[in-house]
Structures are given as C-alpha cells and as structure tokens.
Amino acid sequence: MEEAVRYRRERIDRGIKARSDTIYTLASSRDMLYLLFPRVLPIVALFCLPLLMGGSYWGKVIFYSCIFALLALSWDFMASVGLVSLGQALFFGAGSYVAGGFNHYLKWPMLLTIPAATLGGALICTILLVPVVRLRGVYFSMVTLILPLLFAHLIETLEILGGTHGLLSLTPFPNHWLAVYIAVIAVVIVLFGFRRLINEDFGLVLRGIKDDDRVVMAGGINIYWYKAQAIFISAAVGSFAGALMTHYYQFVGRSAFALDYTILPLAGAVVGGPGSFAGATLGSFILVPLSEALRALGGLRMALYGIILIAALAVLPEGIFHYIERKYHQFERVVKI
C-alpha cells in the first residue's frame, strides 16, 4: 500500500520580548510598536469614528454600538466568573428606569441621574441576583432570562412607572457630541479596566471560580462574596449604558427590558470571541452597524440577522477576536509528517 505524504500546519509564536504578563524588556522600537499597535488602534478608531461620521444617522449608530459594547463587556465580565447571563436587559432596564424615574418624578439633572442610576441600578440587580448566586451553569442563566420579562410584565400590569406608555420628555443631552464621547470614553475605560482587573489578584479568584468553584471554596475563599462583587461591577456597567440610552432617547418604557438588549450584546460577545473583552467590543461594533444596515430590508432584517449569527457560529466558533489574535501572534508553516 502506498503511503500518502501528509502535511500538518505548525504554529510558531512570534519572538517578542514580552517575557511575562507584567515584566517587559523591550529591545527595539519595532517590538514596542508590535505590542502597542493592537492597543492603540481601537482607541484611535473609537475617538476618530464619531468625527468622521458627524451628526448623521451613522453617527447615532456609533452611539448605539457603544451602548451595546458596554452591555457586551458587562456580559463578558460575568461570564468570566462562570455566571452566564441571558438577561443583560435586566441591568439595562434597571439603569434606564432609575435614571428615568429620578429625572421624571424628582426632576434631578442629568449630572445626578446617571451616577445615581449606575449605582442604584447595580445595587437593585445585585440584591435581586444574590439569592441565586449559588446556582450553577444553565440554572443561573434561566433566572436571568426570566427576570427582565417578569419586570416588563409587572410594569405593564401594575401600571407603575408610566405603565405601558413609559416615562416621556426626559432631559436630553445638550448635543450629540457629548453623548457620543461619554459613551466612547466609557467603552475605552471599561474595556481596558476589565482587561486589567481580570489579571489582578481579584480577577484571578474570579477566573478560579469559573474553572472550579469547589476548589476555590476549599481554598477558604468566600465565593458568594466574590460573585456578588462581580455582579455589582457588571450591573453597574449595564445600568450606566441604560441611563445613557434613556437620556439619549428622552424616554424610558417597557422596551428597556426587551429581548433585544439581551440578544444583541450576547451575540456580539459570542461572535467577537468571549473571554477577552476586546472580542465583545469588536463583535458589537460589527453587529450593531450591520443590523442597522439591514434595516433597509424591512421585515426580513431579523431573519437575515439570525442567518449571519448562525453562519458566524458555525464557521468561527472561537470568535473573530481569537482568530485575529492567533494570526497576529503566531505564524504558520506547513510541515511534512
């Protein structure tokens, strides 16, 4: 029998001078550029894009992308503790309603409502989710899936907080630029903050809980306290996004708890590549403009969106970011077996 010559692909790390995560010994400006480029590029892009687009329709799309990127980041942070949420709409809705409520009933200015909504929304969500932090895996996901639906129905049924009509005529942003740049700066801070935090000691414990919660417990660490903290941080980011959106729309209604605010960020994180934060941001900045571009198709928009999502999952299950990262840090060659 003739033996066929077979080949396999070999992957080799590029020789960079970064010896570990924290100690850098950089020899040349080329190496420095190699490390800086992927970090500076998104910041420059984020700050330039609104300028290029101006106040047009696509300028608004950038604002929406930032909002969904914040939600995707907050999803990714919870997921890196092993808490897979199917209800980012809960965070978003809590933030929206706290900001909207303070602004509508107490006439607080925006400078107060947004911080109040960030902290208040996060506190409400944490109190709601703390009783179920013991749950693992899919059971926790189910609770988060149901809670926003429950709130939307409660608001409708009890006719509180504006009921089906929502709270109208809230304070708007003085101009479009302020809103967009607040959102952009928030995305940059949260993105790099989370990437830093997850590599600190605190983040190490969180990742440990994801990998094996019982081992972390055996190490004498109170995992419920850590999970509650992670939920608070994540909910604060989600609520902040909700508060921004509320003032941008000048309206808050039951739609704040809609499935859209769960599915789009989740899809963004999964398509972009979960676990890296950068992937979640990248995914949101691809999917949100895409879904706006598909708006021209009318009724078929959601269907096409679903097809794109399925295709992305089937072709690149690891996520776009992990793929790009691999191509950037490694080169491949074909070797004979």
Binding site: R136, A303, I310
Partner: protein, 288 residues
C-alpha cells in the same frame, strides 16, 4: 366548575406545549430554542397543504409532522453537531434559527384571521353549566395519550432509553454502544415533530399568529423548569399547577396577571429548587 374545566384544558395545553421541548432539552440535554418556531411552522405547513394544495386534513397533518421532524434532524446535522458541548452557543444557534423561521413566516404574511386550521369536529357539549367545544375534548384526549406514549417511549423502548442515557453521561453511553450524535439528532427530530403535534391540537382553537412562536417557548420553559426538565410526572404536575394558577388568577383578578404568575413561578422554583419539583439526577450540578 368553570375553573375546574378550563383549568384542566389549560393545563393539558401547557403540557402539550412542553412535552417536545422537554424531550430534547431535559432528556437529551440539547437546548432546542427553536421549539416555538417548529410549532408555528407545523401549523402553517398544514394550512398550506390543506388550503393551497387540497390535501386531505389527516394527510397534510402527517406530512407536516414528518417534514418538521426532518427539519429538526437537519438542524442537528447541519448546525448543532459543530457546537456540541458549548451550551451557550447551542442556545444562541437554536434561538437564531427560531428567529429566522419566525421572521420569514412573518414576512410572508402568515398571520391573522385568514389562517385558521379547521376544528376536527365542530360543535360543543354542555358539561354542568359550561359549554365545552369538541376540539378542547380532543385536545385533552391527545394530551393524555401523548403523555402516556411519551412515558412508555422513554422508559420501555431502546431509542427512548438511549435518549436518557446521553443526557446522564454521554461517555458511558458511547462506551455501551450508543451512537450519541445519531441519538441526539433523533431526539431533536422527535422533539420537533411533537411540537407540531401539539400545534395541530391547539391551533384550531384560534387563528395562527406568528407571535405564538415566541410565547410557546416561554411556556414550555416554564413547565419544564417548574416540574423538572427530565421528569414526566413533573411535567404533568407542573402543567396542572401553572394551568390552574393561570385560570384562577384570570378569574379572580385580571387576565394580565397570567404571565406574571407564570414567570414568577419560574423564578421562585429556580431559586428554591433549581432542578424542579421532580428533578433528580442533576442535584449535584445545580448549585454549590
């Protein structure tokens, strides 16, 4: 009396909606969030065969059941096979498939009063002081028959036992000669077909509306979670608890409270006993 009769029919309706979902999700451990979409698709396919192509009712129903079952099978081989084990990706993929099916149907305009499936036998009968149409009696009959069939199927037949095996421990199942991919695909096909059977029994009571595609999923999830996803007595008990609660709330308060009760029940059960009233073998995984 009114509450009793409407409670029973409502409970059986809920059980019918949940049974296919529970077969795939609870028993084979495959999330099929396209369950509601298949339910809807089955109803619309039957309508097309019946009214556009003139196929007799019974045959159009059978063809739709087979077609949707096949679609479920293809969904597994085409998509789920690549994502096996990534639970969240499975959920997203099937939910995306559901969105595609429902939104295409909505775009094609299959919604509204024109799209009504005929009742099996017209007319109604008076029980006590309540008028009950024959369709609801059929529905209860079909529901009871399906639950018994379902129980025997998963406990007595080889295929049914292998469905339960791959959920309990896939590796052990493989070592005992069960082809886990084939079994999972079959389970998805069966679950989808059962969704259509449920649709054919329930849809004649009203007109077809594409929104139900999403609602069915919530109800199926509710029944499955409250009862325990893998337990058949659990499904029956949960449907009766939820069914009677909904009717009682609608009678004594207002109809809008129905959904709140359903959703509230899910949250409470998940917080107190996540694997449901009758859930057993997942107790070690559910919490720390």
């Amino acid at each position: 009396m009114e509450i009793l009769i409407y409670g029973i029919t409502n409970s059986v309706t809920l059980a019918l909606m949940a049974i296919g979902f529970s077969l795939t999700f609870g028993i084979s451990g495959l999330a099929n969030f396209a369950h509601g979409a298949f339910y809807l698709l089955g109803g619309i396919l039957t309508w097309i065969f019946l009214n556009q192509l003139g196929v007799p009712y019974l045959f159009s129903a059978l063809i739709s059941i087979l077609l949707v079952g096949l679609l479920g099978f293809l969904l597994y081989w085409g998509l789920m096979l690549r994502l096996r084990g990534l639970a969240i990706n499975e959920v997203i993929a099937t939910l995306a498939a559901a969105i595609v099916i429902i939104e295409v149907l909505r775009w094609l305009g299959f919604s509204g009063f024109t799209y009504v499936l005929p009742e099996f036998i017209k007319g109604s009968v008076k029980i006590g002081n309540v008028w009950l149409d024959y369709q609801r009696i059929f529905l209860v009959g079909i529901g009871v028959a399906l639950i018994i069939f379902f129980y025997l199927f998963t406990h007595r037949t080889k295929v049914g036992l292998s469905f339960r095996a791959i959920a309990q421990n896939e590796r052990t199942a493989i070592s005992l000669g069960i082809d886990s991919d084939w079994t999972a695909a079959l389970s998805l096909a069966f679950g989808s077909a059962l969704a259509v059977v449920a649709g054919l029994a329930i849809l004649p009571l009203g007109s077809i509306d594409t929104e139900v595609g999403y609602d069915i999923l919530i109800y199926a999830l509710a029944v499955g979670i409250v009862g325990g996803l893998e337990s058949i007595p659990g499904i029956v008990l949960a449907s009766f608890i939820l069914g009677f609660c909904q009717i009682a709330v609608a009678t004594f308060f207002r109809a809008q409270w129905q959904t709140v009760v359903t959703l509230g029940a899910i949250v409470i059960i998940l917080a107190v006993k996540p694997s449901g009233i009758f859930g057993k073998y997942k107790e070690l995984e559910e919490r720390v």
